[in-house]
Assembly symmetry: C2
Homo-oligomer: 393 residues x 2
């Protein structure tokens, strides 16, 4: 972890220079209650009292923290200056900012990107009061820094994600080895908990709907909580599962079809939907590379699926995967208002995306495909071993 924090802090200094910002302040308190995603990357653990992490274009890395947190930050060995206080951060903060006298001060707020929006409104007001003029007039959004810092995965980060994907694939293998016929969604969900624990991994989002298990057409698709619906012949069984192994995550969907008596393979309309999903996923992946506009990748996948005559999927084609399953940052998505300006961003090199889409097969169930890929200058390589055929059970 220590190495990754050091890598990321050096990357941050480089981004401050790229973006021509003098100082970036991450201003937080009691991070077990309200969490600034930037802290994951530049510290790796939480703090208690009002704390300021100041990174400068010149390469200074300053931590101003409560006395009890100072030791842990010092032990990281990644900050050039660590100062602790007992009663108030005011004096430490104002004297550092006066000394640095930055012409631009980037803060973690963003209308579109959640991972760049960790500064609470109360803390924004507090910082404004602490620093006062002329510094309050120098505040800018740190989105250009915080977002890219999270998007551009270092080699160590990619290795950690790959490790989590391998565990996820092993868990899926065990899940599909269960006697699934007759089991309910909830029973499968329950067993998934035991299997994941045996790998010393954790679920990537809240346990209550991780994994999502959808048996047949009447199941609650999307972020649904497992129900008492039993897996029966003629159903598609769909899984959506993200795991966390240490600090990094994965996000993969997998599908199976349960043969009816007399069937030796899935019905034609199921196979057609499966191949359309696979083809549309590939259509998106084939245009994904560093430097392209995010929305164009979504468009390629969306149009490919529609060319097969299926309705468009009601979500974005791709999201970053990293410290979180939904890691924030740019979105491989359409120009829907809820995505803000994230579809207009350019894809950063070394991004790791989950790419996904799906089709509802009337009366049979939902097919969802989702794989994880690493973006390079020339394309997008699979980090997961893609599911190429529908599993038959």
């Amino acid at each position: 972890m220590q190495t990754i924090v050091q890598e990321k802090l050096d990357q941050a200094v480089q981004l401050l220079n790229e973006q021509n910002v003098d100082a970036w302040i991450t201003f937080v308190r009691e991070t077990s209650q309200t969490h600034d995603p930037a802290l994951d990357v530049i510290v790796g653990f939480g703090v208690t009292w009002v704390s300021a992490f100041i990174i400068t274009k010149g390469g200074e890395k300053i931590a101003l923290v409560g006395r009890y947190d100072a030791d842990n930050i010092t032990k990281l060995g990644a900050y050039t200056k660590v100062l602790g206080y007992d009663q108030s951060i005011r004096e430490l903060l104002t004297s550092e900012i006066k000394r640095l006298d930055p012409h631009t001060i980037a803060l973690n707020y963003s209308l579109s990107d959640v991972s760049s929006d960790g500064l609470t409104h109360g803390m924004f007001l507090k910082l404004s009061e602490l620093l006062g003029p002329p510094f309050v007039d120098r505040f800018v959004s740190a989105e250009g820094i915080a977002r890219r810092l999270r998007e551009r995965k270092s080699p160590a980060e990619v290795a950690k994600i790959k490790e989590t994907i391998l565990i996820t694939e092993a868990v899926y293998k065990e899940l599909f080895g269960l006697p699934l016929r007759g089991m309910t969604e909830r029973q499968v969900w329950q067993r998934a908990g035991e299997i994941v624990a045996s790998y010393d991994a954790e679920f990537g989002w809240e346990r209550v709907n991780c994994p999502i298990v959808n048996a047949g057409p009447d199941s609650s698709i999307g972020h649904g909580i497992p129900d008492d619906i039993a897996i029966e012949p003629g159903m598609i069984v769909h899984f959506d599962m993200g795991l966390r192994n240490g600090d990094y995550t994965s996000d993969l969907q997998r599908d199976a079809y349960v043969l009816r008596e007399g069937e030796s393979e899935p019905p034609a309309e199921v196979q057609r939907a499966w191949h359309a999903c696979r083809a549309a996923l590939e259509a998106g992946r084939s245009v994904l590379r560093a430097g392209v506009s995010c929305w164009t990748v979504d468009k390629a996948a969306r149009e490919a699926l529609e060319d097969f005559g299926y309705p468009e999927f009601m979500h974005a084609f791709g999201h970053h995967v990293g410290r979180k399953v939904h890691d924030g940052g740019s979105v491989l998505g359409p120009h829907w208002e809820k995505y803000g300006d994230l579809p207009d961003q350019l894809v950063e090199p070394n991004s790791v995306f989950a790419i996904e889409l799906g089709v509802m097969v009337e009366g049979v169930g939902y097919i969802g495909v989702e794989e994880n890929v690493l973006v390079t200058a020339s394309g997008a390589e699979y980090l997961s071993e893609p599911q190429r055929e529908l599993i038959v059970i």
Copy 2:
């Protein structure tokens, strides 16, 4: 959980009436990334897309959420209206606010209270843009509502906290049953992990420094990460551990002394420090009851310890315990700037506090006492079984 959310939403309506606020909006997105503590209480799980939870003085409980989240919110059975959207919350939100036309709109921001400060600055800007005039001029802080909603524990909440305390006490019993002599802080910390797992409980704060294990005088006190220091005769061994069982937590400190050869009891200066800590804790508890100013409770404990000739402790005497170990809200603390106006608040009935303080015994180690209490109109009852004597090992 469902019952608790219903209880808390009814309590929220009551608080809107008490505080004379027309509508309270909790405005969030991707809560696995940035977390609004209010959501714990009024929903109990996370949401993905931009979501607005509107509670009105008249008793309406409205959830406007992404389509995939709508099912889960509906299943809660606690909201009077649940509406889902695909592309943007704009239309749903503006039409609901126009219909309600509230004269005051409380939002989750606060300079002092972290648990009332879950609205990010980016989301504040977004909401201002979405609602526009005249509504932006009606924004007020929801601190008076969000803070009290969290502080006033319902009977079901108190029962859950009590359950977690019982588990914590059982874990401590096992820890003190270990052959502690010669074990390092890190080894004890490691074993604590196995014991807690066997109770199906989780740690209350980040595993890396939970429990805190301090062996002797050279250990890192406060929020320290366990070290390779071995437990040896003549040392005080100090633990600080919070657990989570389901949604509710505990926070307790425990102390032991390791006898030297020839000793049959701890040395006089250790016993004196122990009894001073206990007496100061009791001095604070004896003035704690609903309606008193928070700072007066801290003052009673602080002065009692100083009367014994020990230096004042460099933290607050008491903090709320609930969904989080540091549950936010008012603070039984001195008028230090970092506490803002929280020491000036009045103690709410049915609050659950962790009360704590400590003394460093030169050359021997740190003694810290911490218990959990429930506030009533007439006093503060122990929820934990208080440690009355120093454990001798």
